[in-house]
Amino acid sequence: MSGGTPKILIANRGEIAVRIARACLKLGVDFVCIYTAEDAQSGHVRLAREHGAKKGLYRVSSYHDANELLAVADDSGAGALHPGYGFFAEDYRFARRMQRRERPLNFIGPSWQVIRDLGDKINTKRLARSLGVPTVPGSDKPIYDEMEAEKFARTIYEFQLQQGIEHPVILVKASAGGGGMGIEEVHDIDLFRSVFRRIRNYAARQFKDEGVLIEQRIRDFNHLEVQILAEREAANIVHFGTRNCSIQSDGLQKRLEAAPGFAPASISYGFDAQKLLDAITAHSLIMAKAVGYDNIGTWEWIVTRDGAPYLMEVNARVQVENGVSAAVTRIRGEAGVDLIAEQIRTALGQPLGYSQEDISFEGSSLEYRIIAEDPKRRFSPWVGRIEKFQWEQKDWINLHTHVPTGEPYDIPTEFDPNLALGIVWGKDLEEAKRRGLEFLDGLVLEGRGSHADELKSNVDFLRARTEGVLVF
């Protein structure tokens, strides 16, 4: 890119920091990395040493301390900051602070208003409803009054009975909650009141907001996502298709993703899958346009077995699994799309340079998450040293990792034990699955420490799940 572009501070670690650094290298943008004492071996530190800016690497006390990042940005002269995912990616206060401080910084992500508005469950649901985007049946505003709540809950109960659901279940959740906190299921409508009261008191204590949401519990669904990208000022908004993230661990952590979201050519569904994918894509785009979406983002959907889609939430950031969408995308027929590079480019104010008509999709892609944990022991993490980490290089494999391959690597205990993402591509689902298994077979992952065989059992888990991908 031209000489006027600012230096970018990469405010993250691990695989995403490596990917952002590589994207910067590709774009010819200077970058600065940060690391904590535990992370000194990590791949992003090495990249920063080799290719980073002049003052390109800083040791910080914590990735979680905004002051630390901003102090480093100021000292290094960085003009923009990439939050990656996690940490500050969806912290609208951080984005707002970057914009409003005396030395403003460009936050590589949506504007803080968009992050705030779409970070609020109620706001998102109401916005969706105002645009006719389908959402889970239930309340779209916090309910405070017990009588009103019970009346509403009974309506949802009746509604489920009317749909032929034998055992209706109602979800009661704190409107200010998140991440599975302050949610309870009600199976017996007569117990609703006590659950409501419990959640309300919990919410008041925990979130300083007594509001409660009441919804129908949807069960047996697939988890789909629509990838969106927009220029700054939200002038040009495009989508990069759908992906299916239904294969998850017990803790609802995604393990294996596939793009596109369904494969009607290979698998038969109880509904018109292509029509459904088109519908959720269209709905996502409508919403993105309505809020003035101005960077990368993901619209998350759940789809029931009957093919009914409901919007769950919007992730106003780049996601781990963006690569699986990129793998099946072609811009003007060209492969090798890098969504992170596209994100940085647009955030720095460049136009997209293409429109939706220029984007096409080809083949099928799978993403495997290689994580140091044991599926047999309730996905409990494995700590130790990675002695050997190799895979067969193929032109259809794209592997993202921060783990060094030439030397041993101690897994830091402070963070999630993610090791690598392996993305394979095939011309159709069958080929992708075949290549996926081939990739897993060729993967060498050896560790030292207690239960070192757990590393292998994680690979076994992924292998076992490959067959069932996209089957619904």
Binding site: A66, R93, R100, R129, F159, Q162, Q163, K208
Partner: protein, 759 residues
């Protein structure tokens, strides 16, 4: 034999000389030197004198002593009085019990074997004759015991449990219908926060004493601030002529005046000057109206050998106790007549010992007694707080007040009660009908269900309700930190550290986030950074609902303290308020209430005559309008010491106003923020049954510095924190600042007495 007598005489004179030296401390008084020289001369000469010469010389010396003592007595400075009162030879409660009363029994103490040896309770009686019959008249004696310097007496500085004992026996006296004589010999209360805390106990005492249904007579020798108030609220207050009654010890005042911190000592002349300026003498307090009568002491102060003095004191006690009893008994014209004739006879030398008056009061007199007491205190200290409201407005306000009273009575007593009855009846009928219809229609509904299949019944209306956008007025709720008022500190681009960072690992906060969206609360540990009072005005009460009244009652400088008026003017200019207390009406979710707010920015939120007057007016307004009364304490450092007893007297005055309000069936809520200490907490704030603390606030009696200085123990960190206060039983709950509006509105619905307009 004669030898012995003279020797003793000289020895006594020597003691008197030593006492005089103590009293005038290190002042270089020529007269004292003269006495010393005379004594020295006498001692030099005496070995060569014969007995009759000796006798004469001793007599001459004694006469000389008497004349110099007379002169010195006229020259006593206020600080000399303080030294007199604190001198181990000063008469103490034990001396009074033995010499003033005819018989007594200590209750709950034998020297150091007592829950608090500095507070003595005794039952005593006085024998009087009427004609040929004699009567033993019982009284309850409650007072501080200094015990001529006995260590375990703690100098008469009572602990909370000592004051609790005092309160207990006041209630006993009330039950037994006998008068109470209290004797105040205290430099101040012992500032510990142990259960339930010095402040809380004093507040409880004042609150109860406000409406004790027996005559209370107090005698003040050493009246040291809060400790004195704990037992001195009385129908008649006597003061010994060489005593002092003050809001703070002169040393304490000097330390504040000299801006000394951490145990530094003020210069002697500054202490002297402070004692002078604070107007702490009996004469000063009599002039200002805070004591009713001064009992003249012997020259240079009463000591145990002044038997005449005990007779005078007995005489005075009988006189005022009689007076209080007479003025409450019987029908009004007779009362006045009896009182007048008695006063005349007393002037002619009536012997009270032989003029028996009953001291127990019939119920009607008890009510009168309490009313009079309230009126008496209501009148005090008005001169110290000028009300600058124009006359016309004052007249119209007075009319309005009458109007509210009538309106409230009419609306709430007469109409509403009727309406309520009708409504209750209608409700009952309604519920009967619904039950009836449900029963009639239920078979029909079941049938309908069967005929129409379940799938048919997926109701369009239900569907719409559950999946389409509903109506919602977000502006009614403050969600996501959208505060109406945002602190000016939220405009600085800087990071702020949480004081708990070390313990809880809180990260630095960005000032605009902290003071804006977070309302000054650390999102990690919940620490509350102090906020401006405006934050509460705008974010707690309904928008635009605040109506201030009595804004023109202005605090002044009643003791004409040097350099104080400019400081006051500065505070007024800086805050835009005329006193540290703002009183206003406001609404929360449309419920009306009266609020008195102590503003920490105005001279530390200290309370003087003006603040007290405004507080009382607020309580009275709340009574008339039958609305809840909230005291929001943004911060208070205590009573304003520059006003001396004019400030101190606000403790009983305001507490009595609160008592009247609560007895009338109101709801009095106190909410402490930032730092609240001393007098106000130990009286009109601490007496509330519903006290809440904003998180991270400190509540207590004396600050850590004062505790260290007076007790010699360093209080542990967070000694005054609200959590500690809650654990001690001082406050009733802790509120998060952001939830104050919600908590307050819930409190209005769930707490309080019968006489609130919305009940």
């Amino acid at each position: 034999m004669h030898m012995m007598e003279t020797e003793k005489q000289i020895q006594r004179l020597n003691e008197r000389l030593a006492y005089i030296r103590d009293i005038f401390a290190d002042k270089d008084k020529p007269d004292v030197n003269l006495l010393a020289a005379a004594m020295e001369k006498h001692l030099l000469r005496s070995p060569s004198m014969n007995p009759s010469e000796l006798r004469e010389a001793a007599l001459a010396l004694e006469e000389f002593f008497a004349s110099i003592e007379k002169k010195l007595d006229h020259e006593l400075s206020p600080m000399d009085l303080v030294r007199i009162v604190r001198h181990p030879q000063r008469i103490c409660l034990r001396d009074i019990l033995e010499n003033v009363y005819d018989s007594y029994t200590e209750i709950g103490s034998m020297d150091e074997h007592s829950i608090d040896p500095s507070m003595v309770i005794a039952r005593a009686y006085i024998t009087r004759t009427s004609g040929k019959r004699s009567f033993n008249q019982s009284v309850m004696i409650i007072g501080h015991e200094k015990g001529h310097g006995e260590d375990f007496r703690n100098g008469g500085s009572s602990k909370p449990w000592g004051n609790a004992k005092a309160l207990h026996y006041m209630k006993v006296a009330e039950t037994e219908n006998i008068p109470i004589h209290t004797f105040v010999f205290t430099p101040g209360s012992y500032p510990v926060e142990d259960t339930p805390g010095a402040a809380q106990q004093i507040a409880a005492n004042i609150y109860e004493m406000a409406s004790l249904r027996v005559p209370v007579i107090s005698v003040i020798s050493e009246g040291g601030s809060g400790g004195a108030e704990a037992i001195s609220l009385a129908d008649r207050r006597l003061m010994l002529s060489h005593g002092y009654y003050s809001v703070i010890s002169p040393e304490g005042a000097a330390a504040i005046e000299g801006r000394l911190r951490g145990g530094g000592r003020a210069a002697n002349d500054l202490v002297e000057a402070c004692a002078e300026r604070m107007k702490i003498t009996a004469a000063d307090n009599l002039r200002m109206g805070y004591v009713d009568h001064v009992v003249i002491e012997p020259r240079l102060g009463a000591r145990p050998f002044h038997y005449d003095f005990f007779r005078t004191l007995r005489h005075e006690l009988l006189r005022v106790t009689d007076e209080v009893s007479i003025s409450m008994r019987g029908l009004r014209p007779f009362r006045e007549m009896r009182l007048r004739s008695r006063r005349k006879r007393a002037a002619r030398g009536l012997d009270f010992e032989k003029a028996y008056v009953r001291w127990n009061l019939p119920p009607s007199a008890q009510i009168r007694l309490v009313n009079r007491r309230h009126k008496k205190y209501r009148r005090l200290s008005r001169q110290a707080a000028p009300d600058k409201t124009p006359l016309s407005r004052r007249i119209s306000a007075a009319w309005q007040e009458v109007g509210w009273g009538l309106y409230s009575h009419f609306m709430h007593d007469m109409i509403q009660k009727r309406q309520q009855k009708v409504a209750e009846y209608v409700d009952e009928v309604k519920s009967e009908w619904t039950l009836f219809f449900e029963r009639v229609l239920s078979p029909w509904n079941k049938l309908l269900d069967k005929i129409l299949g379940a799938s048919e019944r997926v109701n369009r209306e239900t569907m719409r309700k559950l999946t389409e956008l509903s109506e919602w007025n977000v502006s009614l709720e403050q969600r996501g930190g959208n505060w109406v008022y945002v602190s000016a500190r939220a405009r600085e681009d800087r990071a702020v550290s949480c004081p708990n960072a070390r313990v809880h690992g809180c990260l630095d906060l960005w000032a605009p986030d902290l003071y804006g969206e977070f309302a000054g609360v650390c999102p990690n540990c919940g620490h509350h950074f102090p906020m401006e009072y405006q934050w509460y005005l705008h974010n707690v009460f309904d928008q635009g609902s605040i109506f201030e009244f009595a804004a023109d009652v202005e605090c002044g400088n009643p003791l004409e303290m040097e350099n104080f008026t400019p400081k006051l003017e500065e505070a007024k200019r800086k805050t835009g308020h005329k006193s540290a207390c703002m009183v206003f009406e406001a609404r929360i979710h449309d419920a009306r209430l009266v609020v008195a707010m102590l503003i920490g920015d105005f001279r530390g939120g200290t309370v003087g005559a003006a603040e007290g007057e405004k507080f009382i007016r607020a309580a009275e307004r709340a009574t008339r309008k039958r609305v809840p009364f909230l005291a929001y304490v943004h911060g208070t450092a205590g009573i304003r010491i520059q006003e001396g007893t004019n400030g101190l007297i606000q403790m009983p005055r305001c507490t009595m106003a609160v008592r009247r309000y609560i007895d009338a069936g109101g709801l009095y809520i106190v909410c402490y923020d930032t730092n609240s200490y001393a007098g106000p907490v130990a009286s009109f704030l601490g007496c509330s049954p519903y006290q809440f603390g904003i998180r991270s606030a400190n509540v207590g009696f004396a600050g850590p510095g004062v505790i260290a200085e007076t007790t010699g123990m360093v209080p542990p960190p967070h000694y005054h924190n609200v959590y500690k206060a809650l654990a001690r039983g001082h406050i009733q709950g802790i509120w998060d600042r952001r939830e104050m509006r919600f908590n307050l509105s819930r409190a209005l619905l769930t707490m309080g007495g019968r006489n609130l307009y919305y009940r």
